[in-house]
Amino acid sequence: MRPFQYTRAPSLTEASNLTAGEDALAIAGGTNLLDLMKLQVETPGQLADINRLGFADIEATDDGGLRLGALATNTDTAVHPRVRSDYPVLSRAILAGATQQLRNKATNGGNLCQRTRCFYFTNIDQPCNKREPGSGCGAIDGIAKLHAILGTSNQCIATYPGDMAVALSALGAAVEISGEKGERSVPVRDFHLLPGDTPWIENVLEAGEIITGIVLPAPVGGTQIYRKVRERSSYAFALVSVAAIIELADGKFSRADLAFGGLAHKPWFDPRIGECLLGQPPSAALFEKAADILLEDARGYGENDFKIPLTRRTLHAVLAQVTGDAA
């Protein structure tokens, strides 16, 4: 690691001040940041420890939803009774990610900010536009099995690696952010950005802004599933994942909120999928149609071409599982 100034932020305001500089980063759980600092992918000169600022609570909101403190750990969240009962897709997504040791340390805010696992990003002796703008993308003509098939650019084909945010996207949660200019709330679906020409900008956080919480809407019920396809049976990043909240009424889809992981630089939410399914009775043909819409603009980079049929099949499996149509 590069030497850095370590400061325990005494207040949220002070944390914002400390992290407003170009050279400064906030550290919470640290499970991703320290990993990258050891590799010198991240080289902050100032590290502001925000762990003891509070906002670790998980509490009901006035409209019956749930507010997850940004500093609550992934474990706190996944095992919270209300999350388990009212937002099972979120518990499931968190539990499908990483390991118990990592989830015990990783925070909700940090999880949203975790960076890609692209091999070329984490190796400072390889080109990466995300790490070193203008150096090129090592993955596009390199090893790209884990990489994105949706929303890529000629600058970057990395994926967002997390699971939790995929469920939050399906749930329509919002991210609460505090900064020098005050507080704001951003839908999770808008929090992460596509790489475009600025792959180093991964989310909407500005300098000095700190995530303080995640707000879940009032429970929506339905059947909630998080399906993660991976190369090991545990402790592997998603090849593709699907967070699904599905409800049927009178044999037709009355709710179909789906988000996808492992496919893009952000949790992938396409409102057209839900629109395609709503009001229709489940059938293999309908599932195929939903997949057609989802994958309309999908593009493989050789090694990850398989993700296109895999995503199609996984979506089919999830919808079949929920609707009891094993066809």
Binding site: F119, N123, Q126, I143, K145, R232, L310, A317, A326
Partner: protein
Amino acid sequence: MTVHFKQDEPDNSNRLDRMKQGVLGKPLPRIEGLAKVTGTAPYAAEYPIENCTEGVLVTATITRGEVTSIDHESVLTMPGVIAVVDNEKLCTRAAQGTANEAPMQGPKQVCYWGQPIALVVAETFEQARDAAKHLKVDYREEEGAPIDPGAVEPEEQEDETVHQGDLAHAMADAAHSVDVTYTTRGHASAAMEPHAAIAQWDGDKLTVYAALQMLNYNITELADALDMEEENIRLISRFVGGGFGSKLGISEEVVAAALAAKQIGRPVRVVQSRQQVFQTVMRRSETTQRLRLAADENGKLTGFGHEALVSNLPGEDFAEPVLQSSHFLYDGENRELMLKVARIHRMTAGSVRAPGEAVGMPALEGAMDVLAEKAGLDPVELRLRNIPEKDPEEDLPFSSHKLAECLKQGAEAFGWDKGPRKPRQRREGEWWIGTGMASAARVHNIAEAKARVTLKADGTALVETDMTDIGTGTYTILAQIVGEMLGLDPERVLVELGDTRHPRGPGSGGSWGAASIGSAVYVACKAIREELAAKTGTSEEELELREGEAGTGEALTDLLEGEDLAREGHYEPGDIEDDYTASGFGAFFAEVRVNHYTGETRVDRMLGAFGFGRVLNAKTARSQCIGGITWSIGVALTEALEFDPRDGHLVNCDLAEYHVPVHRDVPDLEVVLVEERDGAASPIQAKGIGELGMCGGAAAIANAIYNACGARIYDYPMTPDRVLEAMPE
């Protein structure tokens, strides 16, 4: 006093079975186990050395070329930095197993991306790691280094080539034939303890605490690298956190630590980062293997062809010995075997657990499954019909051969269904379920070994050898051999390993450790027994020793009359090595489930039945077997090194993206130990078991995938993308 025994004849006297203590073979817990479970066993980097500094390797960022300058000043002003070491003696590769000479030296010449080129030494680890990232290096790159094994003209390994009869003709005439090409990807040993060394000089005497498997060779390699006398070097590896081939030869950090400690006049510790271990030590070569099998209408093999392409760096003798067991496993009078190696600029290829069979057997046993289907035979039956009477190429008898028993006992224990086999017969929800099996074979290796056994005046015993225990159970089995021979509770036997001050053994590798060093200990104990027999007026043959007493009633402590009785046993394999083909054999059975939608495969249960000579400790032997089976799961489903197609660097160089199996990938595993005595293998009638458990197991899983879902896949590992591609609609 040294007692030398060179074995020219099999020893079928079953001496050990007639001893009276009754501890050999028993499933005793490891004698060093309490130290391991309480965290008190010291590994290489953990010795508290006063005034110790920290070194971090710097590695090349070009594929081939020359280091034109290293700017020491770029880091020497950084806090805590003491020195930059870029001495010409630095090693740029790890030594191959049993090399017995320094590996490639001279950090100015770069042969692969990630090659060590310098060491930065600082007061603290963080200072050294940071400085290593800042060291300014200039290169002159030589473009166009070949990195694709398929794009160069390979060299034939002529000593592997067999042309016997006319395979093409046999294939044309065959009632059933198979001609398939398998590929396997590179593997990493990924031992949990990273390669580490602490070097300390006292005048011209050097002590290195290191993570090494074969000290007797390593000391020679280090002496050669440093251009010094072996007598002035002491290597200590009392506990080694796994090796799996990667610690057979000295690796770069050992030499770097020694050179740095000399240069700065202080002890230096160098621990490779996990990424460096992946990128600088050893990879198992990827392979491409063509299998041709010709069989008559009864499924009896008439032709056998196995050709393989592997790769390595220029200047490396090692070529993954893919065909090793193919030479003798099955019949077939018309034979074509050939091994070729492509010279490419990827990191060094070398030994990874079970070099050869680990990848050769999964291909061969996959092809056998294809043949069984074509011939309409049960796959167990096909194998039973093709067990040769003698080595089909060398005209040598087998030292012992338990393949048939393993197949039968394994099938019985697993509940193998001999009925007609058709894929896609069983489905539970999204999951296709099926079974598969494969044979196991791994050549038996044995080597010269020395160990000193001292029967102490107080009635305890001491074993001293430089042999290592890398998790294999050496500490415990040596205590059991001594306990059995001298009539002692193994708790009264102290075993000291991993120190070159002791008599030298061959170290741990190629599964030869237990049989080799165990035989040296046996020879020493036999000599001690002769002395004791003389004292009691009986012959060694008749001497009965149990619980510290001779059968005649005298206590050992009385017989010793206050004197220690020490003998150094020196075992040397003689003609037995040339007169027999010796191998461990076995059989694997697996049940898997394959997800219809996602192609994910999970192993639900797996069983291995193995015959490998005398079982020295049923608990540790079983553990070796389940370890091997666990590796089989990795070979079959998850493990693959990825190399960048442009600069050849190992891309997935960490444990997040190189997928060794995790707990959840591994179900309950069942092991059947098929007892046998192989007197031509070693005087203690034991063979190796460290590797047999992974020699073919991947094929049992691959064959089960086919049986489950109908996806016949010829490429390992069988990741979801490959399963889906091969899955019939």
